[in-house]
């Protein structure tokens, strides 16, 4: 089997992408030393999907499998390259079973896992962002079969777009590095209440994030969204205030060491997925918490 892993240093950290690929390989009993790495490099302003596909179609024409890390660019290239090579593509693969040629990925907004048999070849898969094996060490990623870099800036091509402006987004308000996160849901009811809870949360020393409905209502910038479409965090503590805890949201906070949920609905999904469940009004409890912490002089 000829296996390729593709990383893109125009967009994102190369190391993290390599770990994501190596982790899936390890979990699937594929030797990391059997994976050939292709790095796409250059400036994001010059990055063009058409160029990347051109390079990959040429480099991977003998591939059995091509793996892409969990990312927007990776998903797009996996699908389009799979189509151009006449193979099979899928995104956000959680696991792969080489013996029965199957893959597993999420379905029904993360409520279930779906197992699929792979019919056809080559396989072009992007890996779920959360795939990360604790067995992969820094040294492991230096033992790939080969490592080839292709600078996309150096390739001339016809431009199908112009006046391109690239702006780096506010990186999740520091959510992904925070030790203490306050995650708010639609149960906060309105923007004024939400603004108030943000101030209280920040006074407590928490970084504030929110569920998808809150972000879509524009109560918080999109960079503050938690979940599969937003930030995936791993703080020491996450307080989930007035969010029901849908799987898509929970996927963003499930790696928190300790989860505290506050919700008036005892039956909300989050209330069984946390470590401490408080059946109460989130706004009132957070306000009381701020007073208590203020009284002990810790903020």
């Amino acid at each position: 089997m000829r296996i390729y892993g593709v990383i893109n240093s125009c967009i994102g950290e190369a190391y993290e992408q390599l770990v994501n690929i190596a982790s899936l390989a390890y979990n699937s009993n594929i030797a990391i030393g059997d994976v050939h790495i292709i790095e796409l490099s250059g400036n994001i302003e010059e990055y063009r999907v058409s160029l990347a596909l051109e390079v990959l179609e040429s480099e991977c024409n003998n591939a059995s499998m091509i793996l892409f890390p969990g990312s927007d660019w990776g998903r797009e290239l996996a699908i389009r390259l799979g189509s151009r090579l006449g193979g099979v593509s899928a995104v956000d693969i959680i696991s792969m079973n080489m013996e029965n040629t199957s893959v597993t990925r999420k379905a029904y907004a993360g409520n279930l896992l779906a197992k699929y048999r792979i019919n056809g070849a080559p396989w072009c898969f992007s890996i779920d962002r959360s795939v990360r094996s604790e067995h992969i060490l820094a040294n492991d990623i230096s033992v790939f079969a080969s490592y080839d870099t292709h600078c996309l800036d150096a390739i001339k091509s016809e431009n199908d777009s112009s006046n391109k402006v690239c702006v780096r987004d506010d990186t999740g308000n520091g959510l992904e590095d925070a030790d203490f996160v306050l995650a708010c849901g639609q149960g906060i009811r309105n923007k004024d209440s939400f603004d108030s809870i943000i101030k209280t949360g920040e006074a407590l020393g928490a970084t504030v994030g929110a569920s998808r409905p809150v972000a879509m209502n524009a109560w918080i910038p999109m960079s503050g969204m938690l979940g599969v479409s937003g930030s995936m965090i791993h703080p020491k503590v996450c307080i989930v205030a007035a969010a029901s805890g849908s799987p898509a949201f929970f996927a963003g906070i499930e790696h928190s060491q300790y989860i505290i949920a506050i919700n008036t609905d005892r039956g909300a999904p989050i209330m069984s997925k946390c470590d401490l469940a408080i059946v109460d009004d989130a706004r009132e409890v957070i306000d009381k918490l701020a007073l208590l912490v203020g009284n002990t002089g810790d903020i």
Partner: protein, 270 residues
């Protein structure tokens, strides 16, 4: 004139399904959500509203846009198509069938319909469904149609009759660029793009140029390429419960004290 086709799907509101129902459904392999209310896929809804906004903006520059809507699904599609006609969509097509876990079928259905009719300058849809979530359909449709594709679109504006300015998000970057038509736009999460509601007068005056109704099976490709696909085998339910301590005293101060104790124990607050 700029011709725009919106592809959308109706989905059951699965937020209402309990953990126990998911568990049972995965075990039995029977997942029937026809009892749930159907709603437009959230990203498809954003795509519909963005198309309407683009039409309105284009009109200010004396550019006409002709909007068409296409959906693969069951009879729950029909009411939404009526709403879209009331909002000014000129043509509609209902491809009757279920392609939810068969993205290749959806790709074939959409591509064939578009290729058989007038060429479109913009094809626009949501990036993924909330059911199968394959995320493959928009990109594979672009490949079949041989047109450029932009994913995670967050805004579109008119430049002229041959180009539009598209903003899209990619892994922490927002990119804005002028794009020459034709193009397929896969819309991501866009704040505050709920589909507008037609007035009664809009509904009474609604008159589409064309309404098509086709069976999906008429569009299935039997060539070898369609055999290359993922074949759904089974579902699995993953239990991520943590066995929590539950406090239900109804007293906000006691609740806050319990949280403070936990924060101190976890070393977040001293």
């Amino acid at each position: 004139m700029i011709r725009i086709t919106n592809c959308f799907k109706m989905e059951p509101d699965i937020d209402k399904v309990s953990d126990e129902e998911w568990q049972e459904g995965a075990k039995s392999g029977k997942l029937d959500f026809r009892y749930l209310k159907a709603r437009i896929n959230l990203q498809d809804e954003s795509a519909l509203e963005l198309a309407l906004k683009l039409r309105d903006e284009a009109a200010n520059s004396n550019i006409t846009c002709q909007l068409s809507a296409l959906s693969i699904g069951d009879e729950t599609v029909v009411n939404t198509l009526d709403t879209l006609v009331a909002l000014g969509f000129a043509n509609t097509c209902h491809i009757e069938g279920d392609a939810e876990f068969s993205p290749n079928q959806a790709v074939n259905g959409i591509s064939k319909y578009i290729l058989q009719n007038e060429s479109q300058d913009i094809v626009i849809c949501g990036s993924q469904s909330g059911i199968g979530s394959s995320q493959t359909v928009p990109l594979l449709v672009a490949e079949k149609l041989g047109i450029n594709c932009i994913t995670n679109v967050s805004a579109i504006h008119i430049v002229d009759e041959q180009s539009i300015r598209v903003s899209h998000v990619m892994d922490g970057f927002t990119i804005a660029e002028d794009v020459i038509l034709p193009v397929l736009l896969a819309v991501g999460d866009v704040q505050r793009t709920y589909l507008r509601v037609p007035t009664l007068k809009d509904r009474m005056n609604a008159k589409p140029l064309r309404r098509d109704h086709i069976l999906l099976e008429e569009y299935l490709d039997m060539d070898k390429a369609s055999d290359n696909d993922l074949e759904l085998q089974a579902f699995e339910y993953e239990d991520v419960k943590r066995n929590p301590i539950t406090i239900d005293e109804g007293n906000a101060e006691d609740s806050a004290r319990a949280i403070l104790k936990a924060l101190e124990q976890e070393g977040v607050i001293e």
